[in-house]
Structures are given as C-alpha cells and as structure tokens.
Symmetry: C2
Subunit: 261 residues, 2 copies
C-alpha cells in the first residue's frame, strides 16, 4: 500500500505567522501523499471580542452558539484555511482546502449531551474516502479545517484532533498511514515542566501506568486516547511532537512514538 | 460535447436568506454538469464596520487593503461559500467550494493601474480546467468564490463576473457552455425604470446602438462586455436575468439572451 502522512497542527503554530510559514515550507517538501488538518487558534476568539460575541468554554470545548459558528466558519474555513492553501501553493504543494461539507467529506451530527448544550458542535459520523483518495491520486494535498456538516444544511464546529483520527482510521484500509499530532511541546513528557523528559516510545501498558500515577496532564489524555484508538483501527504509526520539527518527527529522531507494545 | 451550466449569482440574493435558499433548491435540481460562482454581498461591509476597517470604493470596485482582504477572505471563502455548499449538500447536490488558490484553479495577479492602487485586487491570468473537469466528471459541483491567488502566497480579491466569464471561456473547449449571469433585475432592460422592458435577445449590433444612445446603464456595461467576450471565445449561450427564475432562464422563457447576431 502507498504511504499517506496525515499531520494535524494546533492553534499555537497557527497564531505565529513566521513559525507557520516555516512549517508549511517543511510540510510542502514532504515527498509522499499527505493531508494537513488544522485547528483554530486565537483569531476566532479575538474576532468574537471585536464583534461583541462572548465566548463560553466547557471542559476546554467552545460552546458554539449561532454567532460563534459564523465566526469559526469565517476564521477556520475562510482565513486560516485559505492562507495555508495559498502558502502551500507558493511552496509547490498542490493544496486544496476542504470543510466536511465540501464533497460531503465529513458528515457529523450535533453533539447530544445529558446536561450540557454544546450548541453547533459536531461529532463525526463518517468520512467519505473516495473524494480524498481521488484528490491524493491526482497529486493534490487536502487541507481539512475543523468545520463539518450534518448533510441537512447545518455546518458544525468539530474538534480537529478527532477529524485527524477519523480520517486516519477511514483511510487506513487504502494507505499505510502515519498520523502526526503536532503541538507546542517536544512530545509526551514524563515531567510536564521538563521539555527534555520526552517519552520516546509510549505503549498502551505504559500509558495506563502513567494515567494511574497521574503523570499525564489533562489536555494530553484525549489526544492520547485518540492516538491509541487510531492504532487499534489500522493506523500504522502515531507520533506526537513539535510542528517545528516535522522532519525529525517523520525520521523518528524526535517526539513520542505511540505503539501497542 | 457534454453540456455545462455556469451560473453566477450576485450579492442581492446572497443577502436574502430565504431567496438564497429557494435559489439553491432550484440550482440543486438542475440535472446537468454545473458550476456556481457567487459574489460578495453586504456581509463583508457590515463586518468591516464592526471591525472598524473603513471601506473605500473606486469605480464601484472595493479597494482591498490588507484588513479588507482578511475580511473578504473570511466572508466570501468562509461564511458565504460554506453556507452555500452545506445547503446544496442538503438538497442532494454534491457541491465543493473553491477559491482560486485551492488546487491552483484560478491564478491571478495584483492589478496594475496607472493612477489607482487597488490594493489586493486580482485580475485573472489563467484557469486550470483539469481539476474542474475531474470534479465535474465525478458528479461534483464546484462552487467558486471570488478569492484568487498569485501562486506566490498572496490571496487576491477578484470580480465574480470576471471569474464566471474566464471559467466559461476556459472550459468551452471541453463542454457546451451556458453561462448565466443572474442579478436583481428581470434581464437587460430597455427602460431601466421598467422591469417589463426586458430585451429578449440582445445582439452585438443592438448593444452598440443602445450604448451610443446611452440606454444601457453603467453597471450593465462591464457585465455585457463580459458576456459578448465570452461568446467570442467559444461559450455557446449567455443569459442575463433573475436568480429567482433560474429554471425559466434556462428554458429561454425569461431574461435576456445574448447572441452575436
């Protein structure tokens, strides 16, 4: 099977213009099938302030009312996605930006929760691999933003880590997938205050131990749960590390490699 | 050759949620290869006001400074494009939204003008028909917004009428093209104050006469110049009329049909 590299970049790099430029140059240079998935960043929050649309967070998730959905659609699908696509094009990478609504690539449903109304937050139902595969086979690089739809006309705000994981799982029947979650740290850290304490290889057993010992910090748990879930569903390799070191992550020289055993 | 219907909708219908919904339902029902091109609408202007970014117009064209480019990218490529795509998907039309940067579909250059600095306004250099053709052959409906790029990383604000015309010309070697410019009037009017004075068929000779007599109002001239230029370059049919009457325009029952002779 052909290799496919799926990279998710987080908000911190999107907020830093020069870091983002360097990352996109490195990303464009990767000589393989590839998909980029980007998160949000602070621009949506700043725009909401300018528009006097107050933001609410519950468990680190934005409550997406109608005004917020409009703002994140503008910022994620519009400004961030197209800025990334234009820069990749300038670097010789034939990028094409997509929300889940485009070509019905990611269908989701409005989150159902017993006590919290998340508003227009979407949980992924299905990924249509046929369009993604067609684009990849034509040498294009899909750039996914965290906006999906319910196929009934409703756009939905969806977690980018989840999109990365679901896309990786769905495409694992067709490609050998390496999934990279990049964020602001060097990798999964044994000591959250020490950037040099990167765990080189994290197995299911080790992860359970660290969770029991309370050594894995809160924000990492959904990311790692996502990573192990992806491995279980056919993804070949999951790596967590810094976007600035993408080549080293791919080479196995840096970051944390997630594995079953 | 297969038929391809290219429809451009203007700002007035985009600003009217219920009219837009009806139009998209009708558009989705067209049983042929089709491309939709949309303009801007008032939302960008309103957002600019909220963000205290003053807008300048010269000859009816927005002067696009960096703040305005960010706003139009958010509104055109983000909110409007994705709202349209999601609604078309709900109506069973497999729409996929694109800026000119996506898949390098429309390459443009920053406008050069002797006396006016238009800022980040782009004039079209080339349309890449291969991706559009691939998408159409897969049953997808491209939805183009009026944002292009220069392939050097710069997004550009581009007139939607021009994009429609250039796309129609470029694709005319591969498809029998019907190009529809829809706007707020019933068609090209002999008397601008009388909606019943639609010119059913407008030829080059008649158009010249009307221009000489000063009977064609200012805003129509670039639209009609575009239309005749498209015909000259291989487009089979150009129709101008109301978006609310799309089926009648396609049937030849309403609107103005533009022809050489």
């Amino acid at each position: 099977m052909d290799k496919l590299i799926i990279i998710k970049i987080g908000g911190n790099i999107i907020d830093d213009e020069s870091k983002l430029s360097l990352f996109l140059r490195d990303f464009a240079a990767i000589n393989a099938n590839k998909i980029l998935i980007h998160g949000g960043g602070k621009l949506a929050t700043r725009l909401a302030e300018q528009m006097n649309a107050p933001q609410q967070l519950v468990d680190g998730r934005r409550i997406t009312d109608a005004a917020t959905l409009k703002i994140v659609t503008m910022v994620y699908a519009g400004y961030i996605n197209k800025t990334i696509v234009a820069q990749l094009q300038a670097n010789g990478c034939n990028a094409l930006g997509l929300t889940g609504a485009d070509g019905n690539v990611i269908r989701a449903h409005k989150r159902v929760h017993a006590t919290i109304d998340y508003g227009f937050v979407g949980d992924v139902d299905s990924i249509d691999v046929s369009l993604l595969t067609t684009l990849l086979r034509q040498g294009l690089c899909p750039v996914l933003c965290p906006i999906t739809h319910d196929k009934n006309g409703q756009l939905l705000n969806t977690n980018a880590d989840t999109i990365a994981q679901e896309a990786a799982k769905a495409l694992s029947a067709l490609f050998d997938i390496e999934l990279i979650y990049s964020f602001e740290k060097n990798g999964v850290l044994l000591d959250v205050d020490n950037e040099n304490s990167v765990i080189k290889k994290l197995t299911v057993a080790h992860y359970s131990e660290l969770k029991t010992e309370g050594k894995i910090f809160a924000g990492m748990i959904p990311k790692l749960d996502n990573a192990f879930s992806a491995l279980k569903c056919g993804v070949k390799k999951v790596i967590i590390g810094k976007a600035e070191e993408i080549q080293e992550l791919l080479n196995g020289d840096k970051g944390t490699s997630i594995s079953h055993d």
